[in-house]
């Protein structure tokens, strides 16, 4: 570690903006909550297993309890029957929170344009990153994670970014 490096002066002070320091901390400690329903959840299993190893990006502490997580990965088809549950779990997550919509079904309903499938989860909850593919390869999910981390590092976190979002189930 740098701190043990004798070349470095021990009395260094680093000056940065608090926002950036917090963004840097958030970036590498995302705790995902997997809302896995279908095929994409199997690809998430691959992303978590040793070949792709999502822990390289600091996001391996998979929580299934929404209250302990700050990144929701919606992996799989969301039907109308499932939608209120998705919304409930999203609301149980504490701020700050982000959502990755993984796969064609979660993004747009995919090729299930029919009476039972929600045509994209963004009809119910706000989404930060969309991942294309049916199912996406694990690399695509990792790419989504990296792009989210880049946002956290470079952009100011705006807790009100979804302030005007109104989902289909919100007016009840």
């Amino acid at each position: 570690m740098e701190l043990e490096n004798p070349q470095l002066p021990t009395d260094t002070a680093i000056v940065t903006k608090l926002e950036e320091a917090v963004g840097w901390a958030r970036e590498s400690s995302l705790w995902p909550m997997i809302f896995g329903t279908a095929c994409c959840a199997i690809e998430f299993m691959s992303a978590a297993s040793s070949r792709y190893d999502i822990s390289r990006f600091g996001a391996e502490v998979v929580r299934f309890a929404p209250k302990q997580a700050d990144l929701m990965i919606v992996a799989g088809t969301i039907s109308y029957k499932q939608a209120p549950i998705l919304k409930q779990i999203y609301e149980q997550m504490c701020e700050p929170k982000w959502v990755i919509s993984m796969g064609a079904c979660a993004c747009s309903g995919g090729f299930y344009d029919n009476y039972t499938t929600m045509q994209g989860i963004d009809e119910i909850i706000p989404v930060d990153v969309y991942v294309a593919g049916c199912p996406p390869r694990p690399e695509a999910l990792l790419d989504a994670l990296i792009s989210l981390q880049k946002d956290l590092r470079e952009k100011k976190y705006n807790p009100k970014r979804h302030k005007n979002f109104k989902g289909a189930l919100d007016n009840v």
Binding site: I34, F35, G36, T37, A38, C39, A41, I42, E43, M45, S46, S49, S50, R51, F64, G76, T77, S79, Y80, K81, Q82, A83, P84, I85, L86, I89, C105, F111, Y112, D113, N114, Y115, T116, T117, M118, Q119, C134, P135, R137, A168, L169, V172
Partner: protein
Amino acid sequence: MSKYITILSKGLYSFIKTKYENGFNYLLDITAIDYSEYETEHKQQYALVYILRHQDFKQVIIIKTYISSLYIDSISDIFSGANWLEREVYDQYGIEFNNHPNMRRVLNHREFVGFPLRKSYPITKGQLLYEVDDLLDEMKNHLKYKNIKDKDLMFLNIGPAHPASHGTIRTYVALDGETIAAAITEIGYLHRGFEKSCENHTYNQIVPYTDRLNYCSAISNNIAFVKTVEEMLNLDITPRAKAIRVMLLELSRIEDHLVCLAAILVDMGGLTNYWYIYNPREDIYDLLSKLTGARLTNSFMRVGGMANDLYDGFKADLKNVLIKVKEGIDEALSLIKHNRIFHDRTQNIGIISAKDAINASLTGPNLRASGISFDMRKDNPYYGYENYDFDVVVGSIGDVYDRIMVRFEEITQSTSIIKQVMKNLPDGEVNIKDASVVLPKKEDVYNTIEGVMNQFKLIIDGVKVASNEYYSSIEATNGELGFFIVSDGSGTPYKVKVKSPSFSAIAAYPSMIEGSLLADSILTLGSLNIIAGEMDR
């Protein structure tokens, strides 16, 4: 192989009862057909179809009855497996069953209005659900039925969004301490309208949809579907195609069992096994993506053959994959085979007896674990399975341990079949030569007018299947996966019904966990290998 009988609706119950007593004691499927857009000599709009299998596991009868009213007697007192199948018919077609213990929707949500598989229901008409069913009334009835009263019960939902529910299954349990006094299971959270979508696509367009039934072993679903269509067309595919299909079927079986075993051992707390078992699955993915272009949802089969032949060097790659699989399995087994914790947690847990398993229409490894040696590959061989040397693996009492170990051993048997296939892989084409079924070669499409026309007609109209009603099945990874297809002579099926192994398994699940500990119910669910896509369709 299957016999077709049409009877009057009045005598249906007694007819099925007689058939049951005469040995047709295995219910495969119940479905309905809406004839409102199909010209028949019958004036009734709906017909019900019951598919039964004989206890010799060879004969199949399809019993059909045209109904003039929307009421019919339930057969759920003869077959426990009929309970949920009848609920599904009610849910999708609005046909009610008299004397049914629990006539309510099973796949669609409780606020749903209308019956989606009726031809009059528009395919894209979605309906929002605002509040989830609390299941209290169903639980109340169930407790009354089980005669449980004066007990201090605690009610708990497991799922639908729970890591141990393997997707989207919801089990609502009444707990007496740690023991489950009563359980009800609710499914349908991944109902994606497969059967309605099929009615709007040509036969080859359906192949990608079948991938997503059992997404852990996509190719076996492809094969089950195209095999049914090929039999309706009276096509005999080439010997090479048959052999490759057998090889891919067995590879999917390995793939599927690996994910099931990895998941259940994680449920038990054995995370190390997960790494050992999941890594060879990655190797299978590599092989399949090299062959088909996709890791998970391969869409490799076509009516009349398959997308393309094996690539050069496939044989060597496959050999390496099989070595990796064996290594993974051996490592995992070395961790659990003599492990006291593993034995204590799995033996005598979640038992289903042979008789109950048959009555509940359990199939595949789950049925074999109960000691019934029913395997379509032996009992109704197809694609030359009779020429390969392999054992049907059976368990002894049908507990979690048996179901796990049957799967471990089946991987070994499948490996052996694959080796035998690759040793004597026939040469030749993989697609049949029939311009009305198989797409022309690309150079013909680009260079000749006949080729362009042929390609255009096949893509736009689809493969024309003469009007017929047909059931066919294969031994897929989870058991007998069947398709019942009604065709009206066009390139699009009039109706498709999947006989789904997971659907029967989940219907039997609540009765399997009643009386056991809550923690054991998780393992019981894992050992049944419920795949939500196949269950909810």
